[in-house]
């Protein structure tokens, strides 16, 4: 049992992951992620980084092993419980996954609408976040009217809007210019340091300018390896 400040948010025990009727991509992964931890998972293309992330939000079911996210075991989880669990997770995708028929404001508002907040609260929170990502002036626009960097900033604002317990980011800066990449990393760092949000980022490379402690897992031949626990080494 961890003390409260070291509460385990994600626990994986001998987890193997594969797509239907194929060989496992990830073997026997065992790890724990504590509340407020910032985790990088790195590895070459096709190594299974995104697959791990998908398993964490219930898009892929482990072939073996047990996954527990915020005290909810995923084995035999019902559809309703899965949806409730996802309401505590913020996800950022490389391809943004914004709803193209909705304007920016409504896209950012989505997690708040799902959580059942009043319109007034939703609008106030969205205005604040859009100002924070420097897109307040474009809140009436639709995703296709924005650049890639702007769309990812919108996706980031959406992931933060409901103050989730965990943020999962799949190559969040993969396609972005340096300005937008900087904004995304600053937002993730801010959520981690100020709100104690647990962050798990899947990426090719850890940005050199990270100003906080993080845990680094890499994937080598389908195995998750804890590269270096950098607690206590602030850069």
């Amino acid at each position: 049992m961890y003390p409260p400040e070291e509460q385990v948010v994600i626990s994986a025990q001998n987890v193997s992951l594969s797509y239907i009727d194929s060989e496992p991509i990830i073997y026997d992964a065992t790890f724990k992620v504590k509340k407020g931890e910032f985790v990088f998972i790195t590895g070459p293309s096709g190594s299974g980084k995104s697959t791990i992330l998908k398993s964490l939000y219930g898009d892929i079911k482990p072939r073996n092993g047990e996954l527990i996210i915020t005290d909810t075991p995923l084995s035999n989880i019902t559809d309703n419980t899965l949806m409730t669990l996802r309401q505590h997770i913020g996800i950022v995708f490389q391809d943004y996954k914004l709803i193209k028929e909705w304007n920016i404001e409504k896209n950012v508002m989505l997690p708040l609408l799902i959580a059942g907040y009043s319109k007034r609260v939703c609008e106030a929170q969205v205005d604040k976040l859009l100002a924070h990502v420097d897109l307040y002036h474009r809140k009436g626009r639709f995703p296709m009217e924005l650049s890639g960097g702007e769309q990812q900033r919108v996706a980031m604002a959406r992931a933060l809007s409901h103050n989730p317990t965990v943020i999962l980011a799949d190559e969040p800066t993969g396609n972005l210019d340096s300005y937008s990449s900087g904004v995304i990393w600053r937002l993730l760092e801010g959520a981690n340091t100020q709100l104690q949000t647990t962050i798990i980022v899947v990426t090719h490379d850890i940005p050199p300018a990270m100003n906080l402690n993080y845990t680094h897992f890499s994937i080598q031949d389908g195995r998750l390896v804890n590269e270096k626990d950098r607690y206590g080494t602030t850069r």
Partner: protein, 273 residues
């Protein structure tokens, strides 16, 4: 709603096509029923009897008979009053048999007509029953043809509607799957993911119904179609406002709800999908 209007166009177009053809079918069906009623009302057979028949008895025996009217022989006599003297006319009037016009409840088929004729002939005193069967059979065949065409049209509507709905299902899968999946990624319960679809379904159903109602009201106000119907001596309501609006709206809502339900069922999110 927030969906750009072009996202609505495909369903509205499909629903409009289905509703328009259905309303055309309703008008054709109504026309055939009207035409049949007109034929029934104008058709009668002549029965000649050498003694007065008991009208109520005949009607009780042959349920297909609607009414029997006695033909006044004075009309026949009046035509001959210039050629015959008063005494001969009196003798003629006394010796004339009784004439009756027999009206039926429904326009019968040739076998039915033959059967009715035979049964009337079995009554005591009946010496002749004239059914004008040749003319009747020709008109009856025409009526059957209309009905068959109408049925073929209904089958065609059903096939076209099925094809349009199947095509629309594919479009909806493409258009709505991504949004529903993204909503599910953030934990939207099924009712919330579905609500958007049902809103679109109701909106499109209402718009397409309104468009068909407007189209048929314009056609109804235009004299051209009524002139066409008057050529076959039939007065048809091209659009019965409350009844037809209710029917069209119900059908379009049923179709679009069916579409929404199939899309939702195909996009159920569960663990490991």
């Amino acid at each position: 709603m927030n969906m750009p209007f072009r996202e609505h166009i495909s369903l509205i177009t499909a629903l409009f096509t289905i509703l328009f053809t259905l309303q055309v079918y309703f008008v054709i069906d109504r026309t055939i029923i009207m035409y049949e009623t007109t034929l029934t009302n104008s058709y009668s057979m002549i029965t000649v009897s050498n003694k007065p028949i008991q009208i109520d008895l005949v009607k009780d025996e042959i349920k297909a008979i609607d009414k029997i009217k006695t033909i006044d022989p004075q009309k026949v006599v009046d035509r001959l009053k210039d050629e015959l003297n008063k005494e001969d006319l009196g003798v003629l009037k006394e010796s004339l048999p009784n004439f009756y016009r027999v009206f039926l409840k429904k326009y019968p088929d040739p076998d039915g007509l033959k059967n009715i004729k035979n049964r009337i002939e079995n009554f005591d005193g009946i010496i002749r029953v004239e059914t004008y069967s040749k003319t009747h059979n020709q008109i009856f065949k025409l009526l059957v043809l209309f009905k068959e065409i109408s049925n073929v049209f209904l089958i065609a509507i059903f096939l076209v509607s099925t094809l349009l709905v199947v095509k629309e299902m594919r479009i909806w899968q493409f258009e709505h799957t991504e949004r529903m999946h993204i909503m599910a990624l953030f934990g939207a319960p099924i009712w919330m993911r579905s609500a958007v679809l049902f809103k679109v379904a109701i909106f499109d159903a209402i718009i397409s119904s309104i468009l068909v109602v407007i189209t048929f009201l314009i056609l109804d106000m235009n004299g051209w179609l009524h002139e066409l119907f008057s050529m076959i001596a039939v007065e048809v309501d091209i659009f019965e406002f409350f009844k037809d609006t209710f029917k069209l709206l119900s059908i379009s809502i049923i179709i679009s709800f069916m579409l929404a339900s199939v899309t939702i069922l195909k996009n159920r999110e569960s663990y490991g999908r």
